[in-house]
Amino acid sequence: MAQKTKNNLPSADASAEVVTHIGPGTRVVGRLAGQEDLRVHGTIEGTVRLGATLFVEPEGVILAEVHAHDVVVSGTVVGNLHADNAIVLTASARVVGDLRSPRISVEPGAAFRGAISMDPPDVEALEATAAASRGYGASRASAPTVRSGAISERPTNGDTRRAAPAPVRQQQQAPSVRLPPRRAQAFTAAPGRAPAPFTSPTGNSWAPREPQNFTPREPVRPALRPAFEEKTIIVQHPAIRSSDDRSRRRAEALPPADHLDPSEQTEGGVANVPRKKVRPKPLARGKHKVERVD
């Protein structure tokens, strides 16, 4: 069996006693199953079921569904990885696919795209206890359930991911604690206190978050100007002109000199102006499309 590090994670350069390896010029297409460590320098297509550690060497390419006890990736994998113990992506790993394992380690330098799902019962309990502790985060917590379900519904992980948010959602609907109105609630420094129940007209006083569409565009810098949403109070002298003010002033159709009280005017004016949706500009390098199977 491969030598383990002190964290009980398989290390990439452990020497296996039983040497099964696919050489660099070899290509296996089909189903591979076994109970010993496997080092792949070549190409495997299809499915891999291993009761031991799968090492994907830097020149190895796996285009397969992998079910193994451990997976250590230093090469290229296009396909979903399921491990019973741990998945390790080393610095030279290039993985496109979903990872599912109780323990996952992505080392600096690894490139990965896909979903990560750790042991389902732990995550379920984690989300349930976390949601219970946040008394006034109830309506906010429902947003991630919608988002995680809408963004990607992969058949392999769909049951896992949807199962986790389901108990959270039931917990939230029972107490039906809503967030207080945006401006009426006095700021409290005690985080444990739940505010008075309030049902906002939209049913969710947080801005409903539509599923983020990550369309690749040029590299992004996070917005340096404050995001102009109604919750933000911008202390600003009326003489300062900024583009955020332009739409507001146009909507109000009043000369700027009449705004004597800028802070109050900001709050009042924003309610009339169509809210500027600041969609987070996605970060994209490269030209490949981001495709999601919804």
Binding site: G25, T26, G30, L38
Partner: protein, 104 residues
């Protein structure tokens, strides 16, 4: 030259192709097409059509073998299938059932 080794607990159901030596301790079903030599070790089982340059069998092969150089069946080997190779060596103790074609 690198070698591909299929361990004794490995079962491959599909097609192996490559340009390297291949040593099979486990089970391979399907097709094998290696440009270099193929060795089926004792305990190895190959249920496949084999195309290789030279093949050495210590285990079991059920399938047609086509070797461009030579085919060798060692003692305790079992081969069921047709062999086509310019040079064939069947050792004493090997069991073989099939046709042999040494023609060019």
């Amino acid at each position: 030259m690198a070698t591909t080794v299929i361990g004794s607990s490995i079962v491959i159901d599909g097609e192996i192709s490559g340009e390297e030596h291949l040593v099979v301790h486990g089970t391979v079903k399907g097709r094998i097409n290696v440009r270099d030599s193929l060795v089926v070790e004792n305990g190895g089982l190959v249920e496949a059509t084999v195309e290789t340059s030279s093949i050495t069998v210590n285990g079991t092969v059920n399938g047609d073998i086509s070797a461009s150089e030579r085919a060798e069946l060692r003692p305790n080997s079992t081969v069921v299938g047709d062999i086509r190779a310019p040079r064939i060596l069947i050792a004493d103790g090997a069991s073989f059932k099939g046709t042999v074609d040494m023609g060019g």
